[in-house]
């Protein structure tokens, strides 16, 4: 039996068959045909106020659920508004499907109204993209897109659909798995690690005297958090979790050293520097981690596990490269190490190393000066209170800047998929829409968005979406009336010459703005107000809440490895400088 559908009907049905339950989008001229069958579909559509918001919502959704976030927008400006979230998802390996409308095939190339070269523009910010020229191709292209977005190294895939392709009739056919694979002869991700490499890695691990597990976002993508704990405990090795991997290994585990890198803690940074073996699991030697590459972990051998072969040797040449899925590789690694130990092999004694590491932990805890009466609130204090009062299972989202680093430093991420942020691209304004997407993905959880006053002003309008669609999130705006991270750099590296970083202490009125968007707005100016305000926010679950914390603009993020410097030159909090020699 051959069933005739319009391209639009086929598109929506294909999304349903891919188990899509939520779409973030905003209609417009060329995508109009797809919005009609959506009325008859079980899929929930969340109408955003700006397409960029839809993109970050889809990312937040994907972060917490592991399922691809789906975006539906029109052509031209809607497509260009999607460039930022697509690039963000590409950098952070977030599975996303973005469907854009396009002008009718007959008008392509004529500079038609709202025409742009969407596949050309998004080519370098997507894992793959495709312009569909025939309605008959829709089911296969949708299936390919979900397959590509969610396998191998995940990423965003864009499907560009001309208006007439949505309107034309097609004969429905849902491709089988075999047909999908046969249509992609050039796409065969390697998931199983090479057994010989795994054996070599196990050998290095047993022989290492100063090993560190360097854990990245790949652990979360591979759903490998549990087996990671098994590996870490089996070899008793300290673990550092990158910004993308916060929560991939529990912060309250005795082996966890927390975040390394530019604003990592001194112990995590130094443990990597002094290590004789870095076991990189799904991280990519990002410049924010390595600092100056030529001085990074100079004595360390490298085991590098990554599903993307192009990451092997891109920054640091590994001694043992293993291309594969982190979970499958770690499982094999654990098995191999157990077998070696059972057959008489022994692990080198690493107790000296571990006591050295705990010495650093004692000497260099995170530090900020206490709140002084009558002086502005310390932002770190606000974060600690948010953390301590957060209901179990709270998901934390953040924007980009100082507040992001303090969030990562001061929160205790004890379970995976509770931290959502923009790591690679560093997209200001990420937090609010991402938090909305996260709340849609995990409606039973509390979702806090920590934002700066600069970030908030980029995407706050999506709180209207949250109110109208009844997606209650909580927002903590750390308002220091500055672009704080830029201010910090100007203070430290540009002789306190503050150029275009001062926003305004009074404008906008965050409380009134929050109220205007249907949220509860609360202003907090003194330390005594912090806990009651947070407790109130936590008790409100029928609306979104925005707390504006007026915080000290002079607070800087420490430790800090200045750009271009090596990790040995980490700047400690000035209060800890006299203890510097302990880092030797």
């Amino acid at each position: 039996m051959t069933e005739q559908l319009t391209g639009a009907q086929a598109l929506i049905r294909a999304l349903e068959l891919e188990n899509v339950d939520t779409i973030f989008g905003l209609p417009g001229g060329c995508i109009l045909p797809a919005y009609d069958p959506l009325l008859d579909s079980s899929i929930r559509h969340i109408l955003v106020r700006h397409e960029q918001g839809a993109g970050h919502m889809a990312e937040g959704f994907a972060h917490v659920t592991g399922r691809p976030g789906v975006v539906l927008v029109t052509s031209g400006p809607a497509a260009t508004n999607m460039v930022t979230p697509l690039c963000d998802a590409f950098m952070d390996s977030i599975p996303m499907i973005c469907i854009t409308g396009q002008v009718p095939t007959s008008a392509i190339g004529t500079d038609a109204f709202q025409e742009c070269d969407t596949v050309g523009i998004t080519r370098s910010v997507t894992k793959h993209n495709e312009l569909i020229m025939s309605a008959d191709d829709i089911p296969l292209v949708v299936r390919q897109a979900f397959h590509i977005a969610t396998t191998g190294r995940p990423g965003p895939v864009l499907i560009d659909v001309p208006k007439d392709v949505l309107q034309n009739k097609m004969t429905w056919h849902w491709p089988t798995d075999e047909e999908v694979l046969a249509s992609l002869p050039g796409y065969k991700p390697t998931t199983k690690g090479h057994p010989r490499m795994i054996k070599e890695a196990a050998r290095l691990i047993l022989d290492a005297k100063q090993p560190v597990l360097y854990v990245g976002g790949g652990i979360l993508k591979a759903r490998a958090a549990e087996v990671l704990i098994e590996l870490a405990e089996l070899i008793g090795t300290p673990v550092v979790t990158t910004l993308m991997a916060r929560g991939a290994f529990p912060d309250n585990h005795p082996l966890c050293l927390g975040m390394p890198g530019m604003h990592g803690n001194a112990t995590a940074i130094t443990a990597m520097q002094k290590s004789d073996l870095l076991i990189n699991l799904g991280a990519r030697f990002d410049d924010r981690i390595t600092g100056k590459v030529s001085t990074f972990a100079p004595g360390a051998k490298i085991i590098h596990v990554d599903i993307d072969p192009a990451e092997q040797g891109k920054v640091r040449r590994p001694d043992v490269p293993i291309v594969g899925d982190c979970r499958l590789v770690i499982e094999e690694l654990v098995k191999t190490i157990r077998e070696m130990l059972a057959s008489g092999d022994t692990q080198a004694d690493i107790s000296d190393w571990k006591s050295r590491v705990s010495g650093w932990q004692e000497q260099f805890p995170l530090y900020y000066p206490p709140n002084e009466p009558g002086e502005a609130l310390k932002p770190q204090f606000c974060l600690e209170k948010l953390r301590d009062l957060a209901p179990a299972g709270t998901i934390l989202c953040s924007g980009v800047g100082q507040h992001q680093m303090w969030s990562s430093q001061y929160w205790h991420f004890n379970e995976p998929y509770t931290w959502v942020n923009s790591g690679g691209l560093g997209t200001m304004g990420f937090s609010i829409p991402a938090a909305i997407g996260a709340k849609v993905g995990c409606p039973d959880r509390t979702v806090w968005a920590v934002d700066g006053d600069g970030c908030f002003q980029m995407t706050a309008q999506e709180l209207v979406t949250a109110s109208v669609e009844r997606i209650p999130i909580k927002v903590a705006v750390l308002n220091n009336s500055y672009l704080g991270m830029v201010r910090q750099w100007q203070e430290m590296f540009y002789e306190e010459r503050y150029s275009e970083v001062y926003l305004s202490p009074e404008l906008p009125d965050f409380v009134k703005w929050a109220e205007a968007m249907g949220c509860v707005g609360i202003r907090v100016e003194s330390p005594e107000e912090v806990e009651p305000a947070i407790a109130l926010a936590n008790s409100i679950n029928d609306r979104s809440v925005v707390i504006e914390f007026r915080v000290d603009a002079g607070e800087k993020v420490f430790p800090m490895v200045p750009a271009g410097y090596g990790n040995d030159d980490v700047l400690l909090h000035p209060n800890q400088n006299d203890r510097r020699e302990f880092l030797r």
């Binding site: 050309g120 390697t190 072969p309």
Partner: protein, 184 residues
Amino acid sequence: MSNTSTHSNYQPSHHILSVLVQNRAGVLARVSGLFARRGYNIFSLAVAPAEDPALSRITIVVDVDSAPLEQIVKQLFKLIDVVKISELDPRRSVERELMMATIRVAAEDRGQVVELTNIFEGKILAVGVEAITVSLEGSPDKLDDFEELLRGYGIVELQRTGRVALPKLDKEARVRTHKNGKAS
């Protein structure tokens, strides 16, 4: 014709990538875009359908060190439409290129150009009153030599195809084929 020329464009250290791709719209833009984004200049590029009409072979000649080339080969592999990449060692492959050139030459000097073309085993394609169009197929350095000699007469128009290459068959054909580790 033996090659003794040291033509300024000819780098014996060049790398030849033979990239088998799905024969679809936009594939060439994806491939060339990867090179452009990393600031690598493509020295020459030739594209045409391969033995299987569903596939095209792109022959890319690029002058870069081996280390960044390894990275770009891996990045090329990540393109969904790229099916296979072979890096051909120039010493172990046969390379061919086609050149066409129109030379301004008065009737009384035409014989010299014809003679030169015959020596190189080229072809006369068209003859005009004061111009002649010739073609030559051969190894790229042979074409370089021919081009150099024609310059003395005044080249009006010249077009080269860019090289195509296949591994040599005689000894051990040293083709470094990256078959596995595909994609992600």
